[in-house]
Structures are given as structure tokens and as C-alpha cells.
């Protein structure tokens, strides 16, 4: 019997505007996320993590992996912001890796996707965004890190959009911290109502606002 997993996808903008401290913050954020989650017995039993990075192209740098087997990805900042490619890749990953309920197996919990971007998309992304939003195959949380990202674009992908006014290490760190709280919280109250708001998220830290 296969276990029910909570698949978590991190979609991280690694374009050249993230160079320097921001990308270092992302690396440390991933580590801190792993450390936080590995102190939660529930997360250890259920959370599976995957990392998709995007710059001029999109790549799944870590396949969906059990938390305790997860190896930190090597990430570098360079290039453009191919959000459309990232969204299409995400959809492929979700379809390929996430188990649905069937007559013989209990499906995974509905995946959580954390999308972080600091800039404007440089490719065609609108159709992929509409597609994802309409299909409802994951609970997507988008984070506009700093003034360069357009919250309206992100709203086209998901209803849950957060933003910070600055692309500061504090905000990125806070976002990853909040991410781990959200994962733990989702893992705990996985029973959600089909018709209602998808997930119960913790309040964001002061540097981050929810975009209504």
C-alpha cells in the first residue's frame, strides 16, 4: 500500500536580477525549510519536495523526493525570467508525479506549490497561467518578491498572492519561514472541504502582505 504524500513544489525565479544576496537567501531559505520540516514527525512521514528553477529556461532540478532523502540543489542566478516555461513544466510534473485517487490507491494530498519571482516574465506565460488556474490541480501560492514583480500577473495564476515591497534578505527569509509553517499546517489539517477555500494558511510575517 502506498502512502499518501503531501507533494510540495518550489518554483523559484533564478534570473540574473536575483544575483548576489537574494540568491544566497534562497539557498539558505531552502536549508532552513528542510531544517524546520525535519523537526516535524508528520512532515517527515508525508512531505515530498521538488524544486523547479526558471531563468531563460525552466528545469526541474530536484524530482519529487522524500524529505529525508532530499539533497539541496545547486542554484545560480542568471538569464531571463521564463515564467511561462516554468508553469508548463510545473503542470507536466504535477501530472506525472502526483498520484490521483483511483479504485486501487489512495491519491496524494493536493499538492502545494510555492512560486517565488522578483521580476516580469520574459516569455509568453498567459495561456499556461489560465490553464493552471482553471485546472485546480494544486494549491498555488505566489510570492512577488520586491517591486519588480507584478502582482496582477500572479493573480492570473492563483488567488493566493503575497508580496513584499522590497527584495530584501529579510523578506525572502521570512517567506521561506512562512512556507514551512504553511506546509506543516497543511499537513496537519489535510482534510479540506471540496467546495470551500482550499487551504488554511498561517498569517504572513510583517514584511509580507497578502494581496487581496
Amino acid at each position: 500500500m502506498s502512502i499518501r504524500r503531501l507533494p510540495v513544489y518550489l518554483l523559484l525565479d533564478c534570473s540574473s536580477s536575483m544575483t548576489g544576496q537574494p540568491i544566497e537567501q534562497v539557498r539558505q531559505g531552502i536549508r532552513a525549510l528542510l531544517d524546520d520540516l525535519s523537526t516535524e514527525p508528520m512532515a517527515i512521514e508525508t512531505v515530498y519536495l521538488s524544486v523547479v528553477t526558471f531563468n531563460s529556461t525552466a528545469q526541474q532540478v530536484i524530482l519529487l523526493t522524500e524529505l529525508m532523502q532530499f539533497k539541496e540543489p545547486q542554484i545560480q542566478a542568471s538569464g531571463a525570467t521564463a515564467l511561462g516555461a516554468a508553469l508548463r513544466l510545473l503542470k507536466d510534473c504535477l501530472n506525472k508525479e502526483v498520484r490521483k485517487n483511483t479504485i486501487d490507491q489512495k491519491g496524494d494530498w493536493k499538492p502545494l506549490v510555492f512560486l517565488m519571482t522578483d521580476g516580469m516574465p520574459t516569455d509568453s506565460w498567459e495561456a499556461a497561467a489560465d490553464d493552471l488556474k482553471q485546472q485546480k490541480i494544486a494549491n498555488i501560492i505566489a510570492f512577488a518578491a520586491g517591486p519588480g514583480a507584478d502582482v496582477n500577473n500572479l493573480k492570473r495564476i492563483t488567488e493566493i498572492v503575497l508580496k513584499s515591497d522590497e527584495l530584501s534578505p529579510g523578506a525572502l527569509k521570512a517567506f521561506f519561514k512562512w512556507m514551512s509553517q504553511s506546509i506543516v499546517r497543511t499537513g496537519k489539517s489535510v482534510q479540506v472541504m471540496a467546495q470551500e477555500t482550499p487551504i488554511d494558511l498561517p498569517p504572513p510575517p510583517p514584511q509580507i502582505q497578502i494581496v487581496p
Binding site: M1, I3, R4, R5, E24, Q28, R31, A32, L34, D35, D36, S38, T39, E40, P41, M42, I44, E45, T46, M68, E72, V98, K100, N101, T102, I103, D104, Q105, K106, G107, D108, W109, K110, P111, S168, P169, G170, K173, A174, K188, S189, V190, Q191, V192, M193, A194, Q195, E196, D200
Partner: protein, 660 residues
Amino acid sequence: MTPFNHPITLALSWKLGAKLSSADLALAQQQWPLIHTWLLQNDHLEKLVTVMSCAMTKAELNVLLSPQRSPHSEHYTEAFSRWIKLVHFVQQTKTNVAEVIIRQATQWVTQNLANSSENLEDVICSQIRKRLYLWNEHPDSEPRSKRQFLENWLTENANHLNRLLEEISKPLVSDELKMLFTDNMDSKKKRQATRFWEQLTQYLHTHLHPHLIDTVIQETAVYLERHLDFPKQNYPLRSENVESTAVTPVDSSPPMTLSKPRFPSPKWRWQPLPEGRDYHPEYAHHSLTLPAGCTLIAARVRGKKHKHEGTHCDDWFEIAHSGDWGIIAVADGAGSKLFSRIGARVACQTAINYLTEKLSTHKISPRTHWSADTFARDDSYRFKEPDLELTQQFLHEAMQIAYQAVAKAHLARDDSKYYYKALGNRDLELSDFASTLLLAIHTVVTFKDVHYSFVLTCQIGDGLTAALYQNKAEASVLSDLEKHGFGGETEFLTSSARKLERDYLSSKTYPFFGPMRVLMVMTDGVADDYFPPAQGMLRLWGDMVLNGILPEVTTTAAPLTEDQLNRLQGRKHEYMSLEERILEAGPHPTPVCSSTPYANLLNLSLEQLLASPWLLTAGVPADIKKNGLTYEERLQTWLDSYQVRGSFDDRTLVILFKNG
């Protein structure tokens, strides 16, 4: 001096929980009073504790604090990750440990930073914070020149780094170590310290330093070597080649066990139920005797996640006997709703009361002929036979009345400030009482001297009801199965008024008629562990027989062949494991048997085994047979003990079975 060799280090190793041979242990115990006296003189204890604390974190901190550090190296990354893990772990017990570390380190640097005309405390504080990744705000607001101060100072004075490292290490473990080495302490504090130390070393062993205790002992030995004022005396010679059998000492302050945990995971905790209104007992079990030689047993347990978080069990069940009928109600309050347990309880109680009243004189009419046609239903799932349709109507009315009662329970609490506050300043909504509801009623019809069970079920939301045939290893699932979508998406009694309509309820109603061995009604906490149900429900039943939860199945045939008896001989551990039942006093090892490995042991398929249930009875271990518990108590214990990865929901199971 090598660790474990010198009598002093032997004694310390023993105190720190290392496993010693019996000869070494005797030596260690003999030396301890002397060492203890010496430690308590002057500030030896203080120093020793610092050395030991330091040994636990030195490697990481050296890398992190060193002025020569290179933040992008793999080395650095690893050290950082280990340090953060350690701090997080300690923080779970000592909440403000990061702050204490910062304060202590800053204080030390400020005091020792000579020739500083400026007030640099803030800068030092934020720089240490930054180095240790304990900061929560942007740390780079200070002028560069000031930041350079700390850096230069640490570089210029090599021993400063070591001292700083000591200051930082101390708050993590020093209190606990002190307690361990000081025999005449308040026993409560000492117990806490022992517990913390035990958890910490276990954690460090699992996650960080596999040779931690060796390192600690080594460092300690070096320290002791340097302190020459330790009284010299003639130690008895240590006998070489002593057989190194680990012995558990029976001393009043025994060492902690450092055995590795079964899973490389942090421990599941047990936390009490929250204070406040709407008390909901953590456990429940109950049994009832029914007509026609049937018995109902039921139990529910608080799931591991709720124990861990100190939140309520959201499941509820009620069972009743009325007239010819056995009545079962099971409900699972939504995990995401703070007061869903009220919905679960009110729904069960209301439905049970209603059905008890309506079924007390209700009978299934005797018939000269029973067939599939008897149970024929029309396009909207109404039974064509009036007595059966009336039964279905009662069931649906019970569902509707349960919904109304939950709505009433909502209104009764609606204007209460208590709930408004508990929900973080928002009004109570009906959906806060969201719960599933599973109803099942059972009666026995005798036809041509054969007992047939008639079961009718109705269910809103997840969970499962299944009946097992008496004469064949086959389960009849009396619930809708989730066929698409993701896990955890379910509907609730309170989801919409549409649920109240008879057409909808009829589509959720399943009948069973036939010779029946057992009827099982459960929340998804159990159903998910036995998925898919067609085969899973048989395995569930097999597990219950094997765990002594159901009466023995007897047979005139010899229960086991000689070959099978031989196979079973002394191999109980292959199908019985000791699982950690999470109780208030801590994890409690509890025997749990599984039918799949048992079938393997007998060289049978699971289906073959279940078709010969007396074989299961033969496998019930004496540990369970003789534990003096009732069936329902065993059910509760088992529900609370069996382990499935990723399964930590509340578990409720109601079983109706024929005696003998």
C-alpha cells in the same frame, strides 16, 4: 590517554550513558564518588561542563565564526545546517535559547573588547546574530568600519575565538549537564535535565555526529589530563579481554540509553487535551449485546497528530440496541475546524436517538420468498417493498434530523464571546461544525432456519462501511469510494442543504442481505490504512482476529498441520511487533500482530488464510490472550498502537459480529 580507558573517563562515560562491560561498569561506579567530590570543589564542574558543551558544537561553530570562513563552501554550508538543526532542536525545549546565546556572546565580547571608545554593543550583537544565522531582520545597516571591528579583533587574538565559542556553546546544554553531575538536586529538575540530555544525545546521534559521545569523552579526558590537581591514587588494574556485555546498572541515577530510535525522526509527543468548553474525552470504548447472538463493540482513539499538537480527537461514535435492531453512528469532524468535534458528537447522538425511537417496534416482515427482487429499488433508489422503504426512510430522516441538530448546536453557541475569541475574532459558522456521518442499522432475518443479516447504511463524507460474508472470504463495501480527485477532499453533513433531500440520500444508501460474519463501520483514519477495501477489509478483519479483538473461531478440524506448527515455533516475532503506543507517560511498547506476515509464515496466501479463520485464532499470541482485557478494550489498544506510515488521524471502528 584514550577514552574509556582511564577510570575517570570511564566514570564520565557511564554518567553520559555509554555502554560499558560489567568490569568497567564496576570500576566506574567505584570511582564516581571521588570524581564527584572533586568536581564540586572550586569551579571544576563549571569548567568541565563548558568543555563538554563545547565539544558538542565546536566543529560547527569554528567554521561559522572563523574570520577565514568562506560562506560559499560546502564545508560552511554543512556546518551551518548542523548548527541550525541543533539550535532548533534545543529551542523546542528551551524556547529562547537563541536569544540567550546572543546575549551571552555579546556580553562577553563587549566586556573583553579593549580600547573601544565607541558603544559597539548593537553592532556586535547583530554581527554575532548574523554569523550564527539567528537574526530576523536586515543586518547590514551598520557602517562597515564598525562591522570590521569584531572581525579584526577575532582575527588578531586567536584565543578570543575559542572563548567566544565557549560562551555560545554553554547555554545549549550546560544546565542539563550540571544537573546530571550534581547528585543532590531537586529530583524534578534532575528528571527534566535527564530527559533533555537523553533526547539531545539521541538527536545528535541520529542527525549530526554519530560519534558524539566519543568526542565528548575525548575532549573531557584531555581537559582532565591538564588539570593536574586531580588526586592521584592507585587505580585497580582494568582486566583486559573482559567480555563486553552491556549491563544495565541498577544505580539510583542510571545512565541514559543511547540506543538509536527506530525511525530517524523526531519523537511523537503526547500533549493533554486543551482546556475550555466542549470537553471531548480522548478515548472511548463500548459494547452492547444484540438479539440473535450478535454483539456490538466500538472504540475510538485520538490520532497521533492530535496527541502531538495537544488538540482534540474529532471522531465520535454511538451504538444502540432497539427492538430487533443494532444501530451504529460514526462521525469524523473536519480536521481543519476547531469545533468540528461538536458537530460529530451532536450528529451521532441525534441520529442514534431518532433511530432508537423509530426502530423499537419496526420489523422486517416475514416472507415466503427472499431474492434479489425483494431488494429491488426504483430509479431514485426507493425500495419497492414498503417495509424496506420505511426502514430507508427512517435512516434518511435520522440524517436530516442530525443536520438540524448540528445547525441548532451552532445557533446555541452563535452569540457567545467564547467562540468568537477562540476563532480569532470571527463569528462561529455552521461550517465550523463540519463533520461526516455514517449510519448503519442491522437486523437478523430467519428464513428456512438460516440467519440472514439485513444491513442498511447511509453515509455523507468519507469513512467506510463493509460487511463480510459468513461463508466466503469476501467483503461487500457499503460506501461510495473516492474514485477521482485528491486525498482529503470530502463532503460534510453541513456542506449544503442538498444533502437533506431524499433523492441524494438514497443515492448514498447501500443495502446488504446475506449470511454475515461481521459488519464494520469506520472513519477514514482506519479505512485509509486498509485501502483498497475489497481486499483491505478482509485484511482488517484478519488483523482483528489475530489481535484477539474478535472471539476465537473454532473448528472441528485440526487447527494447524504439523508442518505449520513447526513453522510457527518460536517465530512469533515475524508477525508480532512491539509498536510505540503514544501515551501520557511516553511511548509504550505494545504487541501488534499483522495477518500478512502471518500468512507468509504459514506459507499461505492472505486469501487462503482468511478462508480458514481458525488459523488466525491459533496465532493469537499469549501476550494478548492473557491480558485480561475485554474485546472493546483490545480494540481500543490496537487502534491506538498499529503503525502505518503517514497515518496519524483519529481512528474509530465499530464492529458488529455473531458470537461463536
